[in-house]
Structure formats: C-alpha cells, structure tokens
Amino acid sequence: MKRGTKTLKEGFARMQKGGVIMDVVTPKQARIAEKAGAVAVMALHAVPADIRAKGGVARMADPAVIKQIMGAVTIPVMAKVRIGHFAEAQIIEELGVDMIDESEVLTPADEEFHIDKKKFKIPFVCGARNLGEALRRIDEGAAMIRTKGEPGTGDVAEAVRHVRQVGREIDELVSVKKHRGMLRSKAEEYGVPFGLVEKTANIGRLPVVNFAAGGIATPADAALMMQLGVDGIFVGSGIFKSSNPEKYARAIVEATRSYDKPAVVLKVSRGIGDAMPGISTKNMPDSQKMQLRSR
C-alpha cells in the first residue's frame, strides 16, 4: 500500500474542482459553509480582512479550534501555515488536516525558502502571481496552485491580474514549445527543471489544479474568475464579512457552478444583502500588499 503519493495529493486537489473553499474561524462558520455547499473549509484564526486590520504577527490557527472544526463537518478541512514554517506544517499534518495552505496571508517565517512540500504526506496549496512562482511551488511539491490576488480587500483586480499573467506566460510557452533552447532558457529564468516547463508547454495549462483567491467578494466575482479559466474559488473574508453569510455562501456556490449562465448569476445575486466592505488595491502601498511577501 502506498500513501502520500503525488497521485493522491494531486488527486485530492482534483476532487475540489468546480467548488468553493471557504475561510472559517469557528465550528459554527464551518457548518454554515458546509450547508451552503462548500467543497472544503479553510481553518484560520482570523479572516484576512481582520488580519489586515489588526496587523502584528499572523500565525497558524489554534490546533484545538482546528480540531473542533474537523469534528463539526464531514467535508475536507484545510489550514494555513506561515511560508517556510515547516514545523507549523508538521503540527497541522499530525492533527490530520486534509490539505495545507502555505499562505502569504500569514506572516512569512522564512524570507528565503518555502516548505519542502515533498516531505509531507498531505497535499499543499500555494499562491502565485505569475508562472514562475506557480512552477517553483509545484517543483517544491505543491499539489494545487491559487492566485494570490490581494487577500482581505474584497478587490478582485489583483486576482484577475494574476490569472491573466499566468495565462499569458503559458501561451508564450506554448508558442515556443518546439524550440527546446527557448524552453530551456525559460526553465532557467523560472528556476525550475526543464521537464516541468516542457510539460506545461505541452498541455497548455498548469500541470496541477488552479483556483482563484484573494479579493473574491461577490457571486459576480466568482463567475468572472471561473470564466477566466480557473478550476474553482477560494473565498476568504467575502462570506463572513458580508451582511448575510448564509445567503452569500450559497450564492457564491451557485454562481461558481453556473458561471457561464448570466440568468442564474443574476438570480442568485438578488436580495442577498451587502458584500464585505472593500479596500481598493489601486493606491495601496507595497508594504501593505500580502502578495509581495514571497516570490
């Protein structure tokens, strides 16, 4: 019997496709998310908007609370750890969480190295702003990629930028796929093995499941990201910072499923209350951008 293989890690991520993964901080929120049709919940100590507002050092959630969340729902439970903090990841794995998000939402523990994710039996998801970041994380063992976007803002613009950027760079690879020399220099530029670049060029997409995250706040935002070609949606503050989390959660699930049917997205967008208060990312100083915390 084999456990913790690449097939099992990437296969787990494949089972999430087309779904919505919701940030939760309590067992009660986890049950609301499950009831609304979330495919998984992400346990953390505070939603990104609160982390942003509060400042200070953001760490993994209290294991006792994560355990309560695991007991409250039957869908998979994920948890965030600090970038490079492999000891937090070891604790989360020991706890029995289904997937780890090595996340820029928390305060990075290592400015130089990400976690060596191949050493773990459970799968990892990591954020990326461009193809180089995505392939480096995959090379480190990530089973799933998500856009970084700009967490806790409710501004979808950065997630859009990142998904377009990755798409553009994959198109470039595809256009030179017959030229091994050019692929080789791309591999060098990205700092990843040639084989990974070649594979990406051949299949014309990221070799693992790719979700949108970071600023998705409304059903329309979810429909937009799905039409831009992502495999599914992470919603952080968008649900539990809205005026009616139950309705918002259900509406975002429904919009993710029917992303290409405007009539359905219209129907679910009506009468659901107010979206989370937003912060525009346009004039945000770099020092406040979580997406710049790793590369």
Binding site: T7, L8, R14, Q16, G19, P76, I122, R257
Partner: protein, 190 residues
C-alpha cells in the same frame, strides 16, 4: 454515441478524457442540466464532494432525471461520491449528503478509510477486470451488499467495487489511474 459525465464539481474532465480515449473524441459530454441527459447512452457520476454534488444535482433537476433513466436501464457508473449517491442506504455521515439516488442494493459508509492522510493506492483484484491500480481518496466503502448487488472488489474486508445490472460503483478512482480497462469495462455495457 454520447456518454454523460455529471459535470458540476470534482473529477469531471478526467472521466471525459478517459471516455474519449475509449470511444473517440467528443464522445463525452458534461451534464449540468436535466436536458443535457437527453440522448446519452450512459452516464458517470464522478468523485468530488458528495454534499456539493448531491445538492447541485437536486437543484438542477439532474437528480430526478438520472434516477428515472437509471430505472429504465441506462448504464450508470459512480466513482467515490458517485458510489455513495447510487446506494440505497448510508451510514450516519451520509445523512449530510442528503437524499441518495437509491438505485443499488448496498449500504455505504462515507470516509470509510479516514482523512486525506490515510488516502492510499493499492493494486486490487477486480472481478471481470483483473489486478487494477486503485486510487482511494477519502474514499467511501460499502459495508454490505444485498439483493441483486454483487461485490466485485474488496479491500481489508470492505467492499470497494460493486455491480448490479446496469449499475457499477467504485470507491476508488479509475479516472486517476492512467489505466483505461475500467472505462472499457463500463462502456462495454452499452
């Protein structure tokens, strides 16, 4: 010939690629409404989250249509979540999945082998197919089969694949194994 893959959530494209590899390009269609089931010769319910897929099948009308077609003899195959939905009975956790299609005489258990940490790969003997590389991801299992339902693979005493007339259920994921034999076997029912 068209084969429908219930296309709301989960390993949809993986099944479609395997179906296309067996029957030829364009044979697989993603089913997201009851109308999408018109004229299909068989259907597959993929793995994903059973609560989500079950809910979306019910709200879209696919659930009732699939049950009706299944009763009329349409070949149906459920993998993982699909296995749960095909069953008549389930354990306590399965209650969260909501109503089941109730087409196969078996009692299923959700997350029978534990969480993702306990997910595993194992080569198992499958009746009618032979040794097959089975990929189990937070997989269910059947505690018992009765009536017309027959177990075709077991692991550690649990039933992980079953067959009943036009219905096939697997707790594991042949669409992730890179081995087409299971898809050939199911599509051989057409």
């Amino acid at each position: 010939m068209r084969v429908g893959v219930i296309g709301f959530q989960g390993a949809v494209s993986e099944h479609m690629e395997m179906v296309d590899a067996v029957l030829g390009r364009g044979s697989a269609v993603a089913v997201r409404s009851a109308e999408d089931l018109e004229g299909v010769s068989a259907a597959i319910i993929p793995g994903g989250e059973s609560t989500t897929i079950g809910g979306l099948m019910r709200s879209s009308g696919v659930f009732n249509k699939l049950r009706e077609l299944g009763k009329k003899g349409l070949p149906l195959w459920g993998t993982c979540t699909g296995m749960i939905l095909l069953a008549k009975k389930g354990d306590e956790q399965t209650k969260r999945t909501g109503e089941l299609l109730g087409l196969m005489d078996m009692k299923v258990r959700r997350n029978a082998f534990g969480r993702q940490k306990e997910s595993f790969e194992e080569k198992l003997q499958v009746k009618g197919i032979g040794k097959f590389p089975c990929v189990f991801i937070r997989a269910p299992a059947a505690d018992e089969v009765y009536g017309k339902c027959k177990a075709i693979a077991r692991f550690e005493g649990r039933i992980v694949a079953a067959e009943q007339d036009n219905f096939l259920a697997t707790a594991f994921h042949p669409e992730l194994s890179g081995d087409l034999r299971f898809h050939r076997y199911f599509l051989g029912k057409l």
